[in-house]
Structure formats: structure tokens, C-alpha cells
Symmetry: C2
Subunit: 220 residues, 2 copies
């Protein structure tokens, strides 16, 4: 049974992991017969009121505890996870990927990356293990991998500003429709736009399910 | 396009809507071509740390705001929703259904029900519109409907204690495996065990997808 690491970043599109994307990923992996190893950083995060879209001043929540809501408690501190614990890695999107795993949402291409996230991404590539990321999470890949793997291919859909920032970090952005994905065959990296483009949940699901299939095929 | 009302109760299995169940429901409804109308009560809720399972003392969150995390902000205060706004109603499970829509989790068959939830459930039945509930949410149906519709048929799986409480509220509990559902044809009510029994997400999904299919077929 293939073990797939899934890095979460909280619980909710505006300050954590995008919930629909994450559950669709978990279901597709389970139906493909994979064992899922969920993990998240044990750090504090900004809180956004998802009814109004406003940041809640003076309040933080813990990324690992909030991620545990999606994981039904079955989640590890990413600091305790090594590349030997999984066969491939999957990163769902949501602003948490750009606020809590790195701070791309605040600083763009000058962003900093959580040290454990950076460690695991680099170790996954070094071990030749496949890697998938959706929605805004490919910007995180570009930051971590762009220098050592110049031209590494990713997509976040069609947003020109984000695509430009990705290119400036050393990766190569390719436009992609929501129901498709792109593959960097050499580096074994799969990316898909998901809610960077999706207008409805079924659109996101089609691209995510194809991405999970492609990831599982890389392990066969 | 059929309009399906979905009543949420927060965001997370231990104090809100069960996230996997809710997203699987939303995806199945979207793929069936339905328009989803999400709603939740604008009330405060207890908070459970999903990493430890412990109740967080001295803290509350707002059920509508937390539900908006799953809904990506596209959700209404249930006080503003009437039975004319939808063609059928679906209630996902999670402890929120038994803590925030009613207090069955604390008081069992003596529980009280949120007045707007009770109003909408009774109006749905009075209008002859179909109703689906999964996981622990059928206990809520039993409380609201058991007196006026004695013997109304529901399932929460096989838990004897919960089944006994459901029977004592005037409904009739039938055991059901996780990948199936039961139908009360006379009252147009569909129920399925979901995470009352599911060991993995794909098991919950099979029963939920069948329930959504059955609900949509009732509208044809």
C-alpha cells in the first residue's frame, strides 16, 4: 500500500487548507488504495472570518490543531515526519499554503518558507519521490525548488501576477485549465489549478482526481 | 435545477459538521446538477481541540462563521431561510448536529432543538419535500418529527444506545451498513450511517453518494 504524505495548513480557504480540495484529495487517495499520512506545522496562524472575509484582529489559532479538524485528529506535527515516512507528497491549496507553510501571500517572491516544509520538499526531490501540489501551493514549490531545479514546471492556472512571481522564483509557469493538470516528468512533479480557477466544486474535483491518478501511476 | 438546502453546524467532527461528510455531499449534489443553498444557525458553540479531543474551556466560536469555512463564505443565517428557498433538505453529521442544531449529545432524548432548525424541518415535511440526514443527524429528525410522525424510519447505523434514544423519541430505528441507506417512502426521508460506522472516507462516501442519488431521484 502506497503511503502518501499530505501537508495541511489549517482549515478554511482564507487562512488554512482549502477544505473541498483537501477532502477530494483524501477521498481520491483512499479510493486508489493509498494510506494517507497527514501532517501540519505546529505554529500559530492569522484568523480570517470566513463569513465576512475580514481578518480577526488580536486572535491566532494553531495550524496543527485546526488542520486536525479535517484530519479527524489523525495528524502529525510535520517536525516529526521524515521523507522515509511516505512514498509521495501531496499539498492541497487554500491561503494557508501561502500564509502558514510560507508567506508568499504577504511577501510574494521574497517569501520565507517554514523550515520543516522546506526540509521535506527538498528531501522528497532528493529521494526521487513524486510530489503533487494544487491551487496556490505550486508557488511554494517554486520558492523551495526554483533555485536548484531551474525551469521546474508548475501551474496555478492562468493568473498572470502569480505566474510572473513563480517565474521570478526560478520555476516555469504553464497555463492550465481547471479540469487538467501538468506534469514535470523529469522532476516527477504534478500540479493543477483547483480553486485558483474552479467556479464549482465538481470542476476542482475533476482536476484533483486526475492529479491523484497521475501521482499513483508514478508509483506503479 | 433542483435547489437543495444543506444545514451546517460548524466545521469539524467533534464540535461542528463532519467535514468529509459535508464535502462529499456537496460534490455529489454538484455532480447531480443541483444548486446548493447552505445555511447554519447564528449562535455560539463549544470548541473542541481536534488534536487532543479536549473541550477548550472559556472559549466559544460562532456556528455560522465556522460553517462558512466549509461553504467558502457562501452561506446564509438559517433564520433568513424559508421552505420556499429549496426543493429538498440535507443534514450532514458531526457532533455539531447533536451539539449546535440540538443538544442531543448532552441531553439525549430530552434534548432541545434550535427553533429555526425545528421550523424548517417541520415545514419541509408539511410541504412534502424530501429530507436526508446522515451520521448522528437522524437523531435530530427523530426529536423533531417523532411525535407527529410516529414510527418515522431512520438509521444511524448500529449503535444500540443511540438507536434506543431514537426509538424513545417516537421514531423507528433500523440497523444499516455504512455503504447503504434506508428510505422512509411515506415521509420521503433518507438516512445513512456515514461516520457513525465508517472506518475510512471511501466507506462514508459510498453511503452518502447513494443517499444523494436517492434524494435527487425523489425530485424527478
Amino acid at each position: 500500500m502506497a503511503k502518501i504524505g499530505v501537508i495541511l495548513s489549517g482549515c478554511g480557504v482564507y487562512d488554512g487548507s482549502e477544505i473541498n480540495e483537501t477532502v477530494i484529495t483524501l477521498l481520491a487517495l483512499d479510493r486508489a488504495g493509498a494510506e494517507v499520512i497527514m501532517m501540519a506545522p505546529n505554529v500559530e496562524q492569522q484568523v480570517v472570518n470566513h463569513l465576512t472575509g475580514d481578518t480577526v484582529a488580536g486572535t491566532t489559532r494553531n495550524v496543527l490543531e485546526e488542520s486536525a479538524r479535517i484530519a479527524r485528529g489523525n495528524i502529525s506535527d510535520i517536525a516529526d515526519v521524515t521523507v522515509n515516512d511516505f512514498d509521495a507528497l501531496f499539498i492541497p491549496g487554500g491561503f494557508g499554503a501561502a500564509k502558514n507553510l510560507c508567506d508568499f501571500a504577504f511577501k510574494g517572491s521574497d517569501c520565507d518558507v517554514n523550515p520543516d516544509v522546506e526540509r521535506l520538499l527538498k528531501a522528497t526531490i532528493a529521494a526521487g519521490k513524486p510530489l503533487a501540489a494544487i491551487c496556490i501551493a505550486p508557488a511554494l514549490l517554486a520558492k523551495v525548488l526554483g533555485k536548484d531545479l531551474p525551469g521546474v514546471q508548475v501551474t496555478i492556472g492562468t493568473d498572470e501576477g502569480t505566474a510572473g512571481a513563480i517565474n521570478s522564483m526560478g520555476a516555469t509557469h504553464t497555463n492550465c485549465p481547471v479540469t487538467e493538470f501538468i506534469v514535470d516528468e523529469k522532476n516527477r512533479i504534478i500540479t493543477s489549478p483547483a480553486y485558483m480557477l474552479a467556479g464549482r466544486i465538481s470542476e476542482a474535483a475533476t482536476g484533483i482526481e486526475k492529479s491523484v491518478d497521475a501521482l499513483m501511476n508514478m508509483l506503479r
